[in-house]
Subunit: 401 residues, 3 copies
């Protein structure tokens, strides 16, 4: 949804109500005495629904406006709140949707990472967690991405939630008959509590969130955003290196087309004393918008053609795949670009002991297989961290902090 | 299955036994002393199985003959039935399969709707319901229908049941190798407790039900039936308008090809003093079979070319999509037909305050988007009602009333 | 994985540690005091993980090395083991992966069949079993096989486990972008506890098992192995005939290409006094490798062109489908071969009362439909037995004996 509220009193009016979900750590009661007596049946139903999804086991209450709101508007007042909800004390923000990396500031990132750590403990020590028991996640994938889909579905199931799956919504769904995304979202939100969406069009996730009464997570929308990948990258650096301020990161490979490195550069700019090194073939250099953005925030960056030199001084060597599909007919350019900067044992030799190699996967041969056995090869741990980040986001969006 | 029984004593004979599932609200014990002692191992196993699926938590017993029956026949007697099962008292019918809209009479419809209301309460107030815990539903879709599939799977999961999914059984399954539907059903029934089937051939669901020892729900079989859509349409009218007797319904759009409106007309005929208005382009007019049927039951109907006039006096304006695929090469005819009767703000202006606009979805532009915000736009609530109807049917077929 | 251990003390060293999962029936505590104090964060995490997946409800502990092992190696000692684990007493083997039929000896087969019997009881008498609650199975299918996939997924869900599904990993996954099987496995193992894999290349399952830190089950790898089919075939014979020693089995149909009959012949050779009869069209005769193998073990076998004669003396007539796709352009040869040996009512007439007809399914017309009603038609029970075998294997691989 478009905006959010952390107040425990809210007024619902037709068309003007924007808050999607308000989560409290304590139960509160609703007073509907101010509702017009002559509301039509369906409006009363909505009002009833609004405050009824009471999860006693979790001691949390979800205010859900996924149903049609009253024809005349209604007021919903919290008469009793036993404790001040946690997020009002230390974490004053509210997570409604996950649409783009830019929506997170440093404090939110830290808070999400804290929850991700809890999720690591749950995944390892508490199999059969029931934190999201009774919740249903729909994965609405308009283009396939098995890896991302399985990561989200595993996250949901590791927390006891259930999943509805659509692997190729584009071909199969009523989209093929010409239905708008908005209509599809309105139908699917009736079947589920949260929608994880992948789409081929930039901006689709934002459109979905504007329509939906339940939380939307963007699992990649075309050349646009893939915010959970960006989050897991930053989380991995923090887990592997132990800090984010003062780190030196080498971004290697296809910097022009890789939304991963672009988002990562954006998020790293939120930390202090970060140095970024761009190492890429000339045809796929980092674009000026990111460079200008970094400069404007005072982040030190430079371009380099010397992978060994960069690798020797960085905490993180973030390698990416040169994407063949971006080169069209120019296979010769692709072949030249892909062989240029390979992370292999020679690179490992110059890297510091505490440094790590990262990669968003899948990889081809831009990291040689013999690197895998080195403990500094962090890319499979990075993939695993995607699970924890997604568990954290699902928990935050569905039951709150 | 072909027929059903509500007796608590039944005789099982090879080939002649037709009852699929008998549900009791009270546990009873089985006496196998009359079984031949020299039954082969596998037959004893079947006998054992027959009365063994005891769901203590639900206090119900499911007699399941999905396994091969005894080679020699056997008798299964209820020695003790603590209470008279509910359905013997007030609801004397037994739901075994859901194959076509015609199988439901007015009493059955009312009873199903009553359960659907209970399901609304469960979905809204009792997340994590375990009514169908331990039950497994297979969705066997020979042609894709994401919307219908997700609705059924959501229904099953909202009640604590589990799902096995096949989204494109036609391409993938052994059907491609030439296996008959009957063989596929016999295999799948070994893996699940109920099968929700969508098929491209009319009559496929009936064939499946004749073969299966577990309940079959028809989720659409080609140009044939889509009974759960018909049920949710009638349920929606009853929920929105508050009654079914005496209502006035305008059926608009493609009345020739839409199985939805055909089934709806059929079901509405079961109620008193119903008036039906057909509003459609000439090329897709309602066929005579339905008209004759309505006439034979004394249902008032008329054809009209004036949508505004019909809309002004109806309780329900049921709009449908003109299906391009029915026009083949004649795109000109399609274009002419699709633009003819649009539900827009002008139509809303003449409609009564209590009336509603319905649509089976997906829609293209036969209802303009600016209608959505009007509380009389009932189509997304209608889609949601599909969830409740399907929850109700799953409950009725698996654990009974 | 390559080897296994049944010791309760093990030393983990980078690269040299091969044991995948050690299951105990009793809880034990781990002593990490010998861990180097200056392990990097991520290595400590791994150590922590190693012994942390404590399933108190099951009173079992799973040592899982799916995470990266320590950089420096570490020792994990069981300080307290309340009881001697069952498998140390009576069943001294440990099941790590299911890759090929050859890995099972007679004792293991018997033990698996014993567990399969328990699974039959659970499926019939204890719906809602929670034996595998909290476990997550990934079905990674590089080619579709709806029947096999649903059987595994049903097995997992019947035991309370959860499933992540990929029906056509070949087309959709990052494999399409050139990712190696090994990389895919390393990612998927981060999301799940066990992987059921079907692949188009012979040997793929073995490669996956060599990479994975979690159990792999081969659900068919190209022309190679389909071990769970072989197990369910032998289990079915034992269930239907009551014994395996001394049985007479007729293998009919496509014996050249059918991996099913080849695996079955291999496994039957483990039993005493088995007689095997090969009945097949000349173009698809059993190959010499299997014949030589049987001869080397002293198994009696012969080829016959007389199905009636073979059927009259066998305990099991195992019919198979002539696979059209093996004949390429030579449809004439296919048509000739497929009509040659049909199991019909005439064959039933000469078969003994206790004998059974089996078939791996799907069937075309190599068994006529009128055979189905005969209690000796065991093929649908055989398919159902696949469920029990798969339940047994999942239980054994995930929580042990």
């Amino acid at each position: 949804m478009a905006s959010s509220s952390s107040f425990s009193t809210c007024t619902l009016n037709r068309g003007s109500f924007a808050t999607k979900a308000i989560n409290f750590n304590k139960v509160f009661k609703c007073n509907f005495s101010s509702l017009p007596n002559r509301l039509p049946v369906s409006a009363k139903l909505s009002a009833d629904f609004t405050c009824s999804r009471l999860l006693t086991s979790e001691k949390s209450l979800k205010l859900d406006q996924s149903q049609r709101l009253s024809r005349n508007g209604m007021q919903c007042c919290a008469l009793e709140v036993e404790d001040v909800p946690t997020f009002l004390v230390g974490k004053k923000f509210q997570l409604d949707d996950v649409i783009e990396a830019q929506q997170f500031d440093r404090d939110i990132l830290n808070a999400i990472f804290e929850v991700a750590r809890e999720m690591e403990n749950i995944e390892k020590k508490s199999p059969g967690s029931q934190i999201l028991k009774g919740y249903l996640m729909a994965t609405l994938f308009y283009e396939p991405s098995t890896r991302t889909r399985l990561s989200f579905e595993s996250a949901m199931k590791r927390l006891g939630g259930e999943v509805l799956t659509t692997e190729n919504a584009r071909e199969f769904s009523s989209a093929a008959k010409g239905e708008t995304l908005e209509d599809t979202i309105r139908t699917i939100e009736g079947y589920s509590d949260i929608i994880v969406m992948r789409h081929f069009e930039s901006g689709a996730a934002r459109r979905a969130a504007a329509t939906a009464g339940i939380p939307i997570i963007n699992a990649g929308d075309g050349p646009g955003q893939h915010p959970t990948q960006a989050l897991l990258d930053v989380y991995t650096i923090e887990r592997e290196i132990g800090k984010l301020d003062g780190i030196r990161v080498g971004l290697v490979g296809d910097l022009a087309n890789g939304r991963t490195v672009r988002s990562l550069a954006y998020l790293l700019a939120k930390y202090q004393d970060v140095n970024i090194y761009f190492v890429s073939p000339d045809v796929v250099k980092m674009k000026d918008d990111i460079k200008d953005y970094l400069t404007s925030l005072g982040v030190e960056w430079e371009e380099s053609a010397d992978l060994m030199e960069v690798a020797s001084k960085c905490d993180v060597v973030y390698q990416t795949r040169i994407q063949r599909e971006r080169f069209g007919e120019r296979i010769d350019l692709y072949e030249e670009a892909r062989g240029k900067y390979i992370v292999d044992k020679e690179v490992l030799k110059v890297m510091q002991k505490h440094a790590v190699v990262m990669h968003p996967l899948p990889r081809l041969d831009e990291i040689t297989v013999d690197v895998d056995a080195d403990p500094r090869a962090a890319y499979f741990r990075q993939a695993k961290n995607g699970l924890y980040i997604r568990m954290a986001l699902l928990k935050l969006l569905l039951v709150g902090w």
